[in-house]
Subunit: 115 residues, 2 copies
Amino acid sequence: MSAMKKQMQQLKALADETRLRLLALLLSAGELCVCDLTATLQLPQSTVSRHLAYLKGAGWVIDRRVGVWIYYSISTDNALQHDIAEVLRARLPEIPAIADDIRRLASFSEGASCA
Amino acid sequence: MSAMKKQMQQLKALADETRLRLLALLLSAGELCVCDLTATLQLPQSTVSRHLAYLKGAGWVIDRRVGVWIYYSISTDNALQHDIAEVLRARLPEIPAIADDIRRLASFSEGASCA
DNA sequence: ACATTATATCCGGATATCCGAATATGTCAA
DNA sequence: TTGACATATTCGGATATCCGGATATAATGT
């Protein structure tokens, strides 16, 4: 794939509110399983999985299976993506809706949300 | 408009190749009129104008009329947008297709492309 | 006033994207 | 092997986005 096509795919991944919220949670928390993300965003599981697959295809996340759970974390393919990730890590929490998500995630953090 | 909606609008603006090429040219050259952009990208004028209007609505550019010409330049509403603009300014020229655009613009720069 | 040039907007059709219930896959424990 | 749980994928329908020719608007020079 051309560099342009690849970078466009990465930018398109940011053009959806659900995916941005997922990235914000992963940037803030490091590594999370699908059930944590689903519980925090309060969205159908298929919706969360579909968007995570999209982010993975665009190189924004990697996944790691641990038994039944699959943990997602941030990944960056190239310089542009890496730099944008740092900007998002610093700035997304300034958006109230994102800050709410991060707080909601923290409130689950003691007991795993998918018991 | 909520902060989230506004930021989504700004990120959606980056999710189109034509708009990204326009931003790259403006980040590189400072201020350009529609005819310079149209000549450089070799796209229909209506397409260029439509995307510029989109970028203006999202707060990425401002315009300034000088006689018959309308000059566009980069603008940033908030911290996220400002930081992303700096990343784009530094990294977009690393994409070959973008570098080609910037070179093509430079080749026009002596005589105005819209005589 | 009129022609010319630069730019913006309209609009219908093509394409892409998003949603989420249903279903499939994979893992573990009994 | 069967059941239960976590996650992925499928698919049809709704919605959004993009394109560009045609047309409108705006400024200038004659």
